[in-house]
Subunit: 302 residues, 2 copies
Amino acid sequence: MKLDPTSLKLFVKVAELGTITGAADASFMATSAVSKRLSELEAYFNTPLLKRNNRGIELTPAGSALLNLSRGVLHNLEDLDLQMRDYASGQRGIVRVFANMSAITQYLPQEMRAFFEQHPDIGVQLEEKVSPIITREVMNNNADIGVCAQLHHGYDLMEFPYHVDDLVLVVPQQHPLAQRERVFFRECLDYPHVGLHTASAINLEIMRAASMANKTLRIRIQVTSYDALCLMVQAGLGVGVLPRGAIRQYVDGLNVNVLSIQDEWARRKLSIYVKDLDRLSMAARVLVEHFIQAASGASSPS
Amino acid sequence: MKLDPTSLKLFVKVAELGTITGAADASFMATSAVSKRLSELEAYFNTPLLKRNNRGIELTPAGSALLNLSRGVLHNLEDLDLQMRDYASGQRGIVRVFANMSAITQYLPQEMRAFFEQHPDIGVQLEEKVSPIITREVMNNNADIGVCAQLHHGYDLMEFPYHVDDLVLVVPQQHPLAQRERVFFRECLDYPHVGLHTASAINLEIMRAASMANKTLRIRIQVTSYDALCLMVQAGLGVGVLPRGAIRQYVDGLNVNVLSIQDEWARRKLSIYVKDLDRLSMAARVLVEHFIQAASGASSPS
DNA sequence: CCACGCGTTCGTCAGTGGCGAACCCTAACC
DNA sequence: GGTTAGGGTTCGCCACTGACGAACGCGTGG
């Protein structure tokens, strides 16, 4: 027996109604068939999902977990169904751009403005994501263009150079390292850190660097944005690693210091990723060319 | 026939390998069985997914879409499987907090710092999401605590008051409205807007207000964060609506003006949402109580 | 023209999934 | 204490499904 949506659907229905008989009625099935399905689910997971009693059922903790996960899966399947239905009448008039925060805070506003001046009829839907997710989503056709840190992603994507984007250390002003201008990353590992999104490229980079230094990276709190991280650092919750250009906006008004990280991996570059230029819509292709042009025209960040 | 993961899995395998025979071999199945499954998928969706030729197959546009959607669904199922496997040995030592950007930029850093001073052993995973998604994810047990705009969400959640969070209009300094201190929202609708995430509470609010004013809301670009929006406004791409307190950090260093919005709906409040206090872990409950205490102790934002 | 590699259709058969019947258990009511 | 009601489980049965191998069709390359 394998996992199947019908069993999950029945399980959700049972959980919602509180009885196998009610779920059977609602699904126009015999109680015995539903009961059997649930037993098979429990056998599959090798864990009880329900507590049965003469008033119906209660979920076990594992059952509660399965309920939530099942809803996600079933929602996804419904989405798939819906999108495949709509696909026949689908159309493409908006360019979907996924960009990391570095690109957004430093370059995209000006470049988008210039782009819209030349192409007022093109729409752009811009979402901020972390770099590994950007490359994956471009690969999976959930975004037309990705703008993020250059990284080894293992996908079959076209890559174009964008801008330079070094990583720096942000520390509270009273921190022991605060008077330094430059630091090796291994020195930072003696202090607690404020971390970024588990999947972010920076997070992966500093975890790898910590591993190489044979030291533990102590992350007290994780946040999902650069400005939130700066605020946490200012509040004294730890130090943080961020791209220099991306935080230029924030640190002027904050009580934090910014230190250069001398490790080689901290010299970062941004890239533009697309699946295949020839398969992009005209709007997307024009936007990519605009970004490339803007990047090659600016020899250093302004 | 209904949608089933095995068929989707086979479809993905066929798409990846480029031939039905190759996918059959890789799946230890007969070519005829795979071929039949794919035909049934096409019948189910009532649309061709593959172009067959004597060298194998190519995906149709619908097939490409299904490939990506299937990967998502299958990934979700694998996740479910994994989490159900890990569930038996799962443990709860970290509090998952979803918060909107307003809460993060204004209150959470100080309050988290104070919290950690009292509870150094508790971990927090903080993710920034938009308000409607926060309530949904708390409801779905994907977050323990939600901190976001008070809104009518329709879920069975416990709610506690948090802070006040008025909405304001941000305009470029040369904008016709720039010299105003106060404005009614309907006046803003004469100009293009920079929009937020489609699902964000602010976006929904201004769309509703535009509808009430019988005017069109022209959104030239949509971004997913407040600072990105400020930068787009500064770049002249339009005006934007944001929470006053949340952007205090940014606007000092930018060439933009901030105007009060006089409509009633712009007087916003933040709330704390949990599923059921009694069912939270001790760590999560302690954190909720800390937030409530911090909110009732501060009569106005500082 | 032949060989090869691709895919499709069809008949067959073991396994699946849902049914109804029979049974068990517990709580509530008289 | 006995009866009723509502819950769930197990088992035998049967129609249907899903995978197989065989036979076939098609286009390309040698």
